[in-house]
Amino acid sequence: MRELSLHIMDIIENSISAKATLICLEIIEDKNNDILKIIVKDNGCGIDEQDIERVKDPFVTSRKTRKVGLGIPLFEAACLRCEGRLNIKSKKGKGTEIEALMKYSHIDRAPLGRIEDTIVSILLYPQLDIEYRHVVNDKEFIFDSREIKKVIGEDLTLPNILQWIKEYIKEGIEEIGGGVY
């Protein structure tokens, strides 16, 4: 995948399949220590203990259409490529946390890309809430779809509302000097 935001989207699709209702996405650009950290946490059904290491194997998947699942293996490959790693923590019935670590300045690190597009695509699922925190060194931007729902009610899936959210997030990320690369 060309952008890390697409990997994030793919991982969140897993959370949706796991019947999550809340996604916590954290992106930490720690330029001083040259680390990029991405954390996706959900409150879905979780992964069985004996399966946690196995999900990194492309030939392990819960889907029925075929026997290959590439979401997590691809994301892990993207981390390993730039001196990083992918950690998976999960509790059955509680949820799953995926932590991706990368060397920020590594030549092979894919750009973050359009995070706002990923979030807006996910908000098309009406049952889902997302808490998004983006940190660049000591600056921080936070977006919480539950706050928006307090203002405008439960339905965020209208195109012009999503358009607004997209612009809002884009501006927020720009303000803290994050994203894109």
Partner: protein, 133 residues
Amino acid sequence: MKTIKELEEIRKKTLDVVNQRKDRTTTRIVVGMATCGIAAGARPVLLAIMDEVSKLGLSDVIVAQTGCIGLCRLEPIVEVIKPGEEKVTYIKMTPEKARRIVKEHVVEGKVVDEYVMHVVDGKVLNDYSVQND
């Protein structure tokens, strides 16, 4: 800078739309969003559809996502489901093609034949034009 106040304005304007959407029979546009779809470029397609729907002011359309349909080589895939009509599956989508589908199929009711997935003798064809020649 965007403010929450702006959002309240939008909400007031769209409140009627929400109500309309609930009573009417709606068209569904579904985009495949599994690893295969995302890698093939489904996200820009999805956003182009959303943008076109909002530009044309369509209130009786729902844009949704689904997982892998099992035809990864034909991704990005878009399905248009109009009430009372058979589902139409479009393959190898791009943002431009998707916009055309919203305009011609969803609004005007004309299926865009050249992008439709064709099944002949139980086989899914990648390329419609080959079959036509």
